[in-house]
């Protein structure tokens, strides 16, 4: 029985029931976006730019439109022009004209793969043939591929209209935003520091790597209403953004979320949805658009590559005194990289008196970045966590002890914002320190162990939930949060806990945007936190009404009725305790059916911390790094369904290791992506990884009824730095570039050997 924050033991929460949608998924019946078919459905394909940076002088589509079987061809002219300013879409602020131009290029293509036109035809093969008949006249411009090039004063300008506060209103620039965070006086701090380490880090652009490509089926009705079936992390986001891009009233669009084959933040925006509706409007048929793997890699939303200069100083006894960081993130074709989050998380786990952080959001001729699991935090941690490892080494202090000494706790000021409330960072480091892994001896040549920590804010936002009681005492929970990693099971468990029911008597149901109140995106590790809260309150609403009905039956006042572990009771004689099953059978007589509802805009969000230790062995001849062992400790507040909490911790660690060792976007000098397949965009297979050990730390979030803390994202932050530190301890080279692929590690090893030989020669002569 897992102990709960408010003392009483939980009956369902903390157990590991089989998820309710499991059967459909293991028998292949579950319907993902691409599995939907409709009578008379057409297939859509998109023509994509072969250039990284070019002006579209003209597009001729008549030949394509004439091909038998082709029903419609659209370009950007078919989409309404939108104002070039920041607008509010739900809880997000977006520049709608940039969003629209990213979905379909308007007079300029800005990255290899940028959508230029789309075709709908009776078969996917005919649609592909039609694409080849579209003639586009490009005027090729020099591509700007890195932040360094883009920030040069004479760099080619991607977006003529872009301005930033620094350079004023009349200077075109590629720097969209400059953020600065300051505390204390860094120069003073560095003066007092005994040890100072400064290095420049470069991390490559990487992709979320979800196995299911994007998809959308749009059905446009002659009365102006449209229905969209798609795999998305936020059906309400798809509705409000598609409405803006299509210039339709939001209420005319209904989004039906299909099962989703992975997202990790990459499916929180829109690519195909508006185009499928537009093609359906033109043809009068449902239109299905799916992306190939190459399209996913070239033209969806990877996370930023970055350049980070990080300088940190500490006293002899290991006290961190100052940190000065310069960071520039690739935003991709349009402004909006996660550099702000990177800046606010880079030293978040630590208490550093003097701080100066400058963060730049820079547009380059690469696909517009989207969120990828704690966006911006992993690249930042690669810099700060490796320098902290060097400082600990210089002070001769164990990396865990160094982190415990400087670790943030309740009251520590954050980089930006109020001091921390009750958090569990120190507990995660201690959990690693006392883990069997960390205590075990690591012998053998070229082997090393690295430790690193990570932080993520998590987010609350809005959720709605409805709980219906059926006449046989079972219940159904209706929510709008898409279930990627088993959150349906968590919602059913929360309702079962409150209602005193067996978890298999509760059926969770994810429904469309018309059948449930507004619910924000499944992202920001918020679903268990915010939607779970709404389900908790809705279930309490049901208990309240059931108490009224019991009171009516016993002719007592509702306040006199109490409810505990599934039984309604009241004092006085002749009161036979009733289960929900018995009471449910008598609802008709006592006033009719019962359904509870709750809506929340969740407050008091608890940030999440994780610390990871990884053992590696480096092959000195090839530079290949083999992961021997990995353990991750994470503060989850309260684990509702431990198997899926472990799943999130293991999944994030695996992605972090892929990010560390071999995943990168490889562009040639003309700005064309060369590794557009999973053979060359090398993600970890089960042969590359050991079993990933997890220790769940439960420091409850004050203010949440169940103490829940989001778990979905933070586990991806530590691994790149942990692997780098392990390599340093294994073969004595400090890697400062991601990925630490065999060629790069080998180069570092060879240059170390030549330097050593040169010194020996100098010393010897």
């Amino acid at each position: 029985m897992a102990a709960s924050p408010n003392g009483h033991d939980y009956r369902v929460i903390g157990t590991r029931p089989v998820r309710h949608d499991g059967i459909e998924k293991v028998t292949g019946q579950a319907k993902y976006g691409a599995d939907y078919n409709f009578p008379g459905m057409l297939y859509g394909k998109i023509l994509r730019s072969p250039y990284a940076h070019a002006i579209i002088k003209s597009i001729k589509v008549d030949k394509a439109a004439a091909l038998p079987g082709v029903k419609a061809v659209i370009t950007a002219n078919d989409l309404p022009a939108l104002p070039d300013k920041m607008e509010q879409a739900g809880e997000m602020a977006l520049n709608m004209s940039h969003l629209s131009a990213n979905i379909m290029a308007r007079d300029k293509v800005l990255y290899d793969g940028h959508a230029v036109a789309a075709v709908a035809a009776t078969s996917p093969h005919i649609a592909e043939e039609a694409l080849r008949l579209i003639e586009v006249d490009y005027e090729v411009l020099p591509p700007v591929m890195s932040v360094e090039e883009a920030m040069k004063p004479d760099a080619p300008i991607l977006l003529p209209g872009l301005r930033n506060k620094e350079e004023g209103p009349d200077k075109p620039t590629n720097v969209a935003t400059h953020l600065q965070f300051k505390r204390g006086d860094v120069n003073e701090g560095f003066k007092q520091a005994d040890y100072v380490v400064e290095r420049e880090f470069k991390t490559a652009m990487v992709h979320q790597g979800y196995i299911e490509p994007h998809n959308a089926v749009g059905i446009y009705n002659p009365d102006g209403h449209a229905t969209i079936y798609c795999s998305t992390q936020g059906s309400f986001v798809v509705r409000s953004l598609s409405a803006a891009v299509l210039g339709m009233p939001e209420g005319n669009i209904k989004v039906v979320p299909a099962e989703i084959g992975g997202g990790f933040g990459g499916k929180t925006t829109i690519y195909l949805e508006p185009l499928s509706v537009l093609l359906s409007k033109k043809t009068g048929h449902p239109v299905k658009l799916t992306m190939s793997r190459a399209e996913v890699l070239r033209a969806t939303g990877p996370t930023s590559g970055s350049t980070i200069r990080c300088k940190m100083g500490c006293s002899k006894d290991g006290k961190l005194l100052a940190a000065q960081i310069w960071m520039a993130y690739e935003a991709g074709a349009f402004p909006g990289s996660p550099v702000g989050a990177g800046a606010m998380t880079i030293v978040a786990p630590y208490n550093i008196p003097n701080l100066l952080i400058d963060a730049y959001d820079v547009v380059v001729n690469r696909p517009k970045t989207a969120a990828y699991r704690a966006p911006g935090a992993s690249n930042a941690a690669m810099a700060s966590e490796t320098i902290i490892d060097e400082l600990a080494e210089k002070c001769g202090i164990d990396p865990c002890d160094f982190r415990i000494m400087n670790g943030a706790r309740e009251g520590t000021p954050q980089t930006a914002g109020p001091p921390y409330r009750r958090i569990g960072y120190i507990e995660t480091v201690e959990a690693i320190k006392n883990s069997p892994h960390y205590k075990s001896k690591l012998e053998g040549p070229n082997r090393g162990r690295g430790v690193a920590s990570g932080f993520w804010f998590n987010v609350g936002l809005q959720s709605s939930a409805i709980v219906n009681i059926h006449t046989d005492g079972t219940a159904s929970v209706v929510i709008g949060s898409v279930d990627i990693g088993g959150t349906r099971a968590a919602q059913a468990m929360i309702a079962a806990e409150v209602l005193g029911l067996d978890v298999n008597d509760v059926r969770p149901l994810v429904t469309d945007t018309d059948s449930i109140g507004h619910t924000d995106v499944t992202g920001g590790s918020r679903t268990a936190f915010a939607t779970g809260w709404a389900v908790y309150e809705a279930a309490q609403d049901v208990v309240r009404q059931l108490k009224e009905r019991a009171a009516k039956l016993w002719e007592k006042k509702p306040e006199e009725v109490s409810f505990a572990n599934g039984l309604f009771t009241a004092q006085g004689d002749g009161i036979k305790p009733m289960t929900i099953k018995e009471l449910a059978g008598r609802l008709a007589r006592t006033g009719g059916p019962i359904s509870g509802r709750a809506t929340v805009n969740a407050r008091g969000v608890g940030p999440a911390f994780a610390t990871t230790v990884i053992d590696v062995e480096v092959d000195p001849d090839t530079g290949k790094v083999q992961i021997l062992r990995a353990t991750v400790a994470q503060d989850v507040g309260k684990a509702i369904h431990p198997s899926y909490v472990e799943g999130q911790m293991q999944g994030g660690t695996a992605q972090g290791i892929g990010w560390a060792l071999n995943e990168e976007y490889f562009y040639d000098e003309r700005g064309i992506l060369r590794n557009t397949g999973l053979l060359d965009y090398r993600m970890p297979t089960c042969l590359d990884l050991p079993m990933i050990e997890t220790c769940i730390v439960e420091v409850p979030t004050p203010g949440h009824p169940l103490g829940i803390r989001g778990v979905g994202e933070v586990s991806i932050v530590p691994p790149p730095a942990a692997v780098a530190n392990a390599i340093a301890h294994a073969v004595g080279v400090r890697m400062t570039e991601l990925p630490m692929s065999p060629p790069r590690v080998l180069k570092a090893l060879l240059s170390k050997r030549t330097r050593a030989e040169a010194q020996a020669a100098a010393a010897g002569s």
Binding site: G22, I211, G261, G263, G485, G651, L678, L679, T685, M691
Partner: protein, 186 residues
């Protein structure tokens, strides 16, 4: 438009006739012609394994095989794994071990694992990882998948079938096995 060809094959224990264009892959035939949408498309280049099916006892990517090549073959997809009333032990163990999160890669993993256990009833962890290396998963980090396959192998080896629900009739798997034996005999 190329002329369609009539193809006969045994799919999930049932003799099936279907029409397909020469350019259609077996995956496209399974999903769009035969409405067996259990096999999933992840890359169409044989890298992700989400479209894995078993053809004449061998696991392979149905996106790399043409529909017309299925003539006379015995094919098993995820839809043919469970008996009418009872999940295959692999399906049961994937659920019990929470070995899937989004589940898009699960059909592919189940077929690769089934082919492995048919060949090697008592695989070591390394052998399991080797056999499943062709199937990518981005959510789980593979840990719980490997544990589920090992547990399923152990359950099969010790002969206890997981508690069946009810009903009679040979499962699609047994039908396919019988069909295969007949083929070998001929």
């Amino acid at each position: 438009m190329a002329k369609k060809v009539v193809v006969e094959a045994n799919i999930n224990g049932e003799p099936i006739e279907f029409l397909c264009e020469p350019r259609q892959s077996l995956l496209e035939v399974l999903r769009d012609v035969l409405e067996l949408t259990g096999s999933k498309e992840g890359c169409l280049t044989g890298d992700c394994g989400a479209c894995t099916v078993i053809v004449n006892g061998r696991p392979l990517c149905s996106c790399l095989m043409l529909g017309v090549e299925a003539q006379g073959k015995t094919i098993q997809t995820v839809e043919g794994l469970a008996a009418p009333d009872r999940l295959h032990v692999l399906q049961q163990k994937f659920l019990e071990h929470a070995s899937l999160q989004c589940g898009i890669c699960t059909p592919g993993f189940l077929m690769s694992a089934k082919a492995l256990l048919d060949r090697n009833p008592k695989p070591t962890e390394a052998e399991i990882r080797y056999a499943l290396a062709g199937n990518l998963c981005r959510c789980t980090g593979y840990d719980k998948i490997v544990r589920a396959v090992a547990d399923a192998a152990q359950t099969l080896a010790s002969g206890q079938q997981p508690a069946g629900h009810l009903g009679s009739g040979p499962s699609a798997t047994e039908q396919t096995e019988r069909f295969l034996q007949e083929q070998e005999v001929k």
